[in-house]
């Protein structure tokens, strides 16, 4: 119970097959009180997840909100404080992907991806950091970026751009928040079989799924639990001196052009 008396917020955690849910379970199992977030339209799923966390013996509440709206982000942070009196850990994980090649990018896609993947993360980090600074006891922020932070794919140019933006953002934030003992790091998931990836055009047939596996040196997709383990490290006392770091968790996908 290394996280006893700690309070963690995890955004983008409604789906039972999401990295956010994996993180929420990991942190709850280590004793943290959990606030889980997703968009208001997924309130019912959030309720189910809260029920599951509480059944594990965790203390959890939900805070549905649209992270592209500053007022709703503030309300979410307020909800954390109302429920548990403090906020120690923020896993800014909510994000979305669209598969559109550069020449097919639609303005609506561009706006939506920037809104949630960039603006949403920034608003969450800002509101959370203000709360942590006010309390004066430091804090931990972990952003979920992507293996696409450094590795590029032809049909996800906007997604890749928003994730690379997070790399620069996390670095800047780490510098600015270091004097307050708040660390900021990000994880780069490779291929994880989440609900978000269900509509990936590269994962629609057994043959293409097999090809994806063979392109990964460890020859399989990652699990949400494995992503959560990296988050658990970044928020641990063992990682207290790590800030501004990027950790890919991709089975070696981004090492090279080819797997062996």
């Amino acid at each position: 119970m290394r996280l006893k008396n700690k309070v963690a917020l995890v955004t983008g955690a409604a789906s039972e097959r999401s990295i956010g849910w994996g993180i929420a379970r990991e942190l709850a199992s280590d004793g943290a009180a959990i606030v889980i977030n997703d968009i208001p339209a997924r309130r019912n799923e959030l309720e189910e997840r809260v029920g599951q966390l509480n059944a594990m013996g965790a203390n959890s509440v939900m805070a549905p909100s649209d992270l592209t709206e500053p007022a709703q982000v503030e309300q979410m942070i307020d909800a954390c404080i109302r429920a548990f009196g403090r906020l120690d850990i923020v896993c800014s994980n909510a994000g979305m992907i669209r598969w559109e090649s550069f020449l097919d990018i639609k303005p609506a896609t561009l706006r939506a991806l920037v809104d949630i993947n960039v603006k949403g993360n920034m608003l969450v980090c800002k509101a959370a950091a203000e709360q942590m600074i006010k309390r004066g006891e430091g804090g931990r922020i972990v952003v979920t970026s992507s293996v696409q932070t450094y590795f590029h794919f032809p049909i996800t140019p906007v997604y890749g751009a928003t994730k690379h933006a997070m790399h620069i953002f996390v670095g800047s934030l780490a510098l600015e928040l270091a004097p307050y003992n708040i660390t900021v790091n990000h994880i780069g998931p490779g291929w994880v079989q989440t609900q978000m990836n269900d509509t990936s055009p590269e994962l629609q047939t057994e043959a293409s799924i097999q090809s994806q596996k063979e392109a990964i040196p460890l020859r399989r997709a990652g699990t949400t639990e494995e992503m959560a383990s990296a988050v658990a490290y970044f928020i641990s006392k063992e990682a207290a001196y790590t800030t501004g770091a990027y950790l890919p968790i991709d089975g070696g996908l981004s090492i090279s052009k080819y797997s062996y």
């Binding site: 794919f153 996908l253 090279s256 052009k257 080819y258 062996y260």
Partner: protein
């Protein structure tokens, strides 16, 4: 595009078909070519080089190297590391490690150091370019030693860029992708391998000329504010992932 007729280009290091191709592009741009090559290089490679002045020396010996260079004036220096070997990590031995680092790292540093001192003596700044490979950025199968030795060299190059800026000397690296040259022979020479390089976004393997053109750009006044960069010339090879099997499946014994 480039008029480098006011330049003498010192090509220093190991003889190679890549360096010869680069020298040819400089020659086409009007530069005089001065080649100072290691005495252990294969002299047969000299036939690939354009007309110029050729001097054999020992790159092991910075003093001999300095006395050789003292007799010449040049504006651009191209450092040519020449060690390339496909060998799996498990098969690489101490001798491979020593060779990789002696040739691609130590010799290249001595060469750059001696040339930089001569440029400083000349007092008019200059340009130092390191020939490298994208395997320093993206490891590929069985390039562990060439990749790591060139990666080390690239760090030295960027540090040298900082140190030498005060003398008006710019230092940059040109990192080649797959080329139709001897380094790629294990790939290109085997039936079915890299015959159709669809894994290269621009759809073809590069040429030594394409690397030479990048070198000419970085040596030209067009690049007068560029220092400490590693410029890949790889047709986009290192940008993305391939679902194909590696065209080089290894030599593991």
């Amino acid at each position: 595009m480039f008029d480098l007729s006011d330049q003498t280009v010192l090509m220093i290091g190991e003889l190679s078909d890549l360096a010869a191709g680069v020298a040819a592009v400089f020659k086409e741009a009007g530069a005089e070519i001065l080649v100072v090559y290691n005495s252990t290089s294969d002299p047969n490679l000299l036939r690939l080089y354009p007309d110029g002045t050729y001097l054999e020396t020992s790159l092991y010996d910075p003093i001999e190297l300095a006395s050789t260079l003292a007799n010449y004036t040049f504006q651009t220096v191209v450092i040519s590391p020449g060690w390339f070997q496909h060998r799996s990590f498990l098969d690489s031995n101490a001798s491979d490690i020593e060779n990789a680092y002696r040739i691609n790292f130590e010799h290249a540093i001595y060469s750059a150091q001696s040339a930089a001192k001569r440029l400083i003596e000349q007092g008019e700044g200059g340009v130092i370019l390191f020939l490298s490979s994208v395997v320093s950025k993206m490891p590929t199968v069985e390039t562990n030693l060439v990749g790591s030795s060139l990666a080390s060299l690239e760090v030295i190059a960027t540090m040298a860029a900082v140190d030498l800026a005060q003398y008006g000397i710019r230092v940059n690296v040109v990192a080649a992708g797959w080329l139709e040259n001897s380094w790629a022979e294990p790939l290109l020479g085997v039936e079915g391998r890299m015959k159709e390089p669809t894994d290269i976004p621009l759809g073809k393997v590069g040429s030594t000329k394409s690397v030479g053109q990048a070198c000419c750009f970085l040596a030209s006044p067009m690049a007068e504010y560029i220092t400490g960069v590693v410029l890949p010339v790889d047709g986009g090879f290192t940008l993305t992932k391939s679902l194909a099997q590696s065209p080089y499946r290894g030599t593991r014994q």
